[in-house]
Every structure is written in C-alpha cells, then in structure tokens.
Amino acid sequence: MRIARARAERFGGIVELRKPRALLQVDKALMRELGEPESPLWSLDPQGPLSAPTEVHVVLSRRCAAGCRGCYVDATPQGAALPFDEACRILDELAEMGVFHVALGGGEALELDHLFAVAEHARKRGITPNLTTSGLGLDAAAARRCAVFGQINVSVDGVGPAYAQARGFDGYAHAEKALRLLRAVKREVGINCVVSRSSFEHVPEVARLVRKLRLNELELLRFKPVGRGARLDEELTPEQARALYPMARRLILRHRIRVKLDCSFAPMVFWHRPSRAAAAFFGVQGCVGGDVLAAVQPEGGISGCSFTPATVEGSLRQAWPDAFGEFRGFVANAPEPCASCEYLALCRGGCRAVSAAHGAFAAPDPGCPRVQEHSRKRPLPIV
C-alpha cells in the first residue's frame, strides 16, 4: 500500500492511497499516528462540511457532434468550451484546496484540442484526472495518450441496436472499438450506462460486455429529466426503481464485475434496507453536491453538481465555506417522509437535480420508492 497524501478535516482527515487507488476517511487519532500535524479544523464541530470537495466535475464543453437525444448538457457541435488557460487556473485553485480527483467530461471532451494538456496539467498539480467519453473518433494514437487518465469510462447505454434506441444515433461500433483500444492501453477502463425506462431491460447485455472486454467497472447512471432529457418521458417506473438494486446485485454475482450506482440512485438502494454501517463505511450515499463534490461549468461558473445551475462565480476557494447551503442544508431541514427515514443521513433525500426538475429543489426525490409510498398513503385534503 502506498500513501500519496493526506488532508486534514474536522473529523480527522482524508488519506489518498496510490495503490490501491482509494480515499480513506480516518479519525484524528489515526492522523496523529500517521505523523500528520495538528489541524485547527480538529477543534470545530465534526459534522460540518468538508474543507474542500474531494472531487470536482469539470464540464469542459457543451460541444459534441453526436447529438444524443437525452444529453443533459444540451451539447451541440458549436457549444461553449472552457478555454485552456481558464481550465488550468481552475485546476491550480483546486490543487491548492487539496482536491484529489477531477472528472473531465462534456459535451465530448475528446473533441477539444487541449484535453490532454488539461489532463497533464492536473497530473502536474497532483490531481488525478478521469474521463468520460462517447469514444467517437478515438483512434489508437489518442488511446495511447489516454494513459494520462486515472479511470476512463465510455458511455454505452445499450449493446447493438439498443444503443441507437437509447441515444438516438448508431454509435455502438465506435464505442466498442474505443473500449478495445483503451483496454489495450490500460486496465482502468469501464462503461457508463444511463438507465432509463426504455433501456432498463437491456442493462444485463451491457454487463455481459463489461465481462467480455475485461473492463474494471460498470457504472449505472440514473436518467435525469434535465437538458434535452427534460423533453423525454424516460424516468424509471416505480417497479423499475424497486428492481434496480436487486438487478445490480445479480449482475455483480453472475458476471463477477464491479457495479457502481450513481449517487442519485441512493433511494433505490436504501429502500432495500442494506447494512447502514457497511453503506457508511464504503461511501454509499445520496446527494453529496456542494460538499464531497462540486462542478465547473464550461462558462466558468461553479455549481454543487453538474446537473444544477452555477451559483458561484470566481474563486471556489473563497466561496466554499459558505456556498451551496441549498445542498448542505437538506438533511437538517428534511421534510417527510425523509425526516423519519432511518437512512436520511446516508441518502440525503436522493437527487436534488431530479427534485428540481420536478419543480422543488428542496423536496424529497420523487423517484424514491418510500416517497412514492408516502404519497399514496397521504390522505386527500378536505375541501
């Protein structure tokens, strides 16, 4: 095991491991045992926000030629892009804050000439750059340059015809070719699969592809009705929402692959009442926008999550201590049925972006099975 670095937090600190790649939260006593200096943060209430995000999503552009029908950033071939100098300035600030990882995406980040220069700058500043791509246009030379990234996932929402059905264009052959080229270069290659109402039944085929190509993970992402997706009726049905976590477990056991669910799926996991201690230890949690993560928009603004509008302009470092109250305050002010849910501290009310898309940012996630049951039980108002 190799320690890369450590960062003090109110509860103790976060230790980054290089091998295996991991972030460990440790208490103050262990920080002292590791030889870390005393921190002024250790005299503060341990329940407060982190001193900085551990991970920042950098939406490098809203530029993409693919035109996927559900694109959440509404990317177009002429969309805005974050200039190289501005990207480097932001990375410098994130490095000074102690951010560990950035996830680069878009739009299609590979369409930008300066993508690899941005990734190399992140490496120089001690931040691990990771990438999501559609794989369109990736050739062997570009795949070799992708060695600079930590983890790379290619978006594959279905195999064969199911890909075109989900995304609105036939890019499956390109995506599979990209996966093979990348896998020849590095081990940390996986698939991002958006799970929507119509793609749900095709997820097992994507899991088989992960095993066949010996990829290291399948990440299932919840369809969110934002961007161009707001015009689609593709959110999971209540039955699909309940079946998602059992399906993920089956895929793990059947194919012996690593399956990750995005944070917005937390309500669908916790409805099945998994061990709270195990979930807390392995970081299974709901919305961590504005705390564990933040997002940089291509126009330069900063938001708590890349699905929500920017609320910070200028320096994230200066704004961080008091920003994103709308995200951070949910647990303390949670309405029913979240308030009485034993998983509230972990689930954090599900996905704020989905709630916002349904009209109320601070309302419980309408896709949560518990919220749906609560809505059915609620007595009709007396008129």
């Binding site: 790649r21 208490d27 262990l30 999503h57 990440e219 669910l261 970081g283």
Partner: protein, 54 residues
C-alpha cells in the same frame, strides 16, 4: 497512565470516479455487510500504520 486509543479508518472508497455528472458508488461491498466493513477497516488501519512507519 492515560491509555492511548488506536486511530480508526472511518470509511473507504476505492477507485476513481470518471463520471463528470455524478458520484459513482460501489455497491459490490454492500453484499458482504457490516462485519466485512469492520474487518476491512482494521486491515486498512494496520496497513496505513505500517506504510507510515517505513
């Protein structure tokens, strides 16, 4: 004499998240429950101390 408490690993997330729209969490470990989590915490704590002592 004051008894010094050993430090603890509170949580562990493995790998890197490449997704620029949300945070991916590994649900594979949930299959094994809280005893497994406790065992992993002890092992990681031991390895961390050993690494720091080098």
């Amino acid at each position: 004499m004051r008894l010094l408490r050993r430090g603890r690993v509170l949580s562990a997330t493995f790998g890197c998240n490449p997704n620029s729209s949300s945070l991916g969490v590994d649900v594979s470990f949930l299959l094994f429950g809280s005893l497994f989590a406790s065992a992993v915490a002890v092992v990681l704590g031991t390895l961390l101390r050993r690494d720091a002592a080098k």
